[in-house]
Symmetry: C2
Subunit: 237 residues, 2 copies
DNA sequence: CAGTGGTCTAGACCACTAG
DNA sequence: TAGTGGTCTAGACCACTGA
């Protein structure tokens, strides 16, 4: 409703950022437009180049601006917005949602993974993996079922005793922190053991998050997280 | 494998960031640990406080560090990692995946939304909305079906003629850019018109992304995007 | 080549907060 | 209240890139 604020006088970098963003979002500067150089903006806002630079850098990181040496700064033609998706400790996410978090280990032990899984992880067929199945409860109701396949060599010290009481993600966070992960999100018909554990009908559409994680170049393992019916991922821009 | 790199001598902020991150990820500094003050790090890296400050700020933004005035800087006990999820123009996403993008308008016109929808959007019951149904094709195969509910007042100028050839998201990007959006991701059994348009069996588990968007404080509308079977969202850390 | 952003310095003052 | 990070200045040199 209000036109872009008339900017003048002293301002800190956050105010400058707000003002510049206002000009973009209100359409004063359109996608593809060239905006003034740092020196000009610095004069306009009565501050140093470092300060406007900070605001401009922040807007560029957020995807609103494209910056090139000599080419100057332009408003992004295609602002590919990023929605940040949290990758939390499961029990904490449940508590944060206002529920009482519960946990139950269903199975743990060395298994030969499904033949389709090994090549997907870049492992030679026939590699035994540590398999973990567990259910996370919210207020006593099944909330998420996790299936985990871990490389035994990289998770030495993780015993069944520990897993009886401690969810694997918490142990891993402290002992084998990941440095890289690939995440996929899809809708599936859950395998029978999963729908059983979720107390759901076998054909219930289920949200599956698969996360393969590495520590440096070394594979840690793969997590399949099945969500109870109606559970949504929520994020925003 | 390699222990934390021995850092010494001059370095730019990216090198300092790399070095500090190495100490965190290799476990030299553990979650909860207090790390040296800016002044000490500046002396250690033989640079000014601004430079180490930049590296530390970056690591804090990324979630690896917690910083408090007087309290100092500590390694995050619970690094809540964020996986960035792209919010692209649909046709561009399809092209980027290496397919030929197609588009077909199925329906467009003013409708009374489902009674459950109006309150969800904060609208008085009985508000007529512009409804758009369309299918996006990849190599001629149905890929995504969109259902859109738009506030007519905020999308004036968007005619059926335009929608015959231009997907709504492209028109909206140029004419009614959003400033805020809420996104939910869930698995559903698609309504019959959707499964038909996707050439899928009625009970196929389907990934549904719902996006409600605003321009400043003003509601633009709501998008429901149903994904064809097997289509996954992919992201990483 | 010249112009733009990217980075660094050496210093200063301020805002917040733990003790 | 003292110590820490947050920010700003005024200046400098450098790296990249468009003409």
């Amino acid at each position: 409703m209000t036109p872009p604020p008339a900017p003048s006088g002293k301002a800190d970098w956050k105010a400058i950022r707000r003002d510049l963003l206002g000009r973009i979002q209100s359409g004063v500067w359109k996608p593809g437009d060239q905006i003034p150089r740092e020196v000009e903006l610095a004069a306009h806002y009565d501050c140093t180049r470092s300060t406007v630079g900070r605001a401009l850098r922040d807007l560029a990181t957020a995807g609103f601006l494209d910056r090139k040496r000599k080419g100057g700064t332009t408003v992004s033609a295609n602002p590919v917005r990023k929605a940040p998706l949290d990758v939390p400790i499961i029990a904490e996410a449940i508590r944060k949602a206002g529920h009482v978090a519960g946990y139950q280990l269903l199975d743990a032990g060395e298994r030969l993974p499904d033949p389709a899984l090994a090549p997907e992880l870049g492992l030679p067929a026939g590699t035994p993996l540590l398999f973990i199945a567990a259910v996370h409860l919210a207020d006593g109701i099944p909330h998420q079922v996790e299936h985990r396949w871990l490389l035994p060599a990289t998770v030495q010290g993780l015993s069944r005793d520990i897993l009886e009481t401690t969810p694997a993600d918490e142990w891993l966070l402290r002992n084998v922190p990941l440095t890289r992960a690939q995440i996929t999100i899809e809708a599936v018909r859950p395998p029978a053991p999963v729908s059983d554990a979720l107390h759901a009908a076998p054909d219930t559409p289920t949200l599956l998050i698969t996360r393969t994680s590495w520590r440096q170049a070394r594979l840690i393992g793969m997590l399949q997280l099945y969500h109870a019916q109606g559970h949504r991922l929520v994020t925003g821009i």
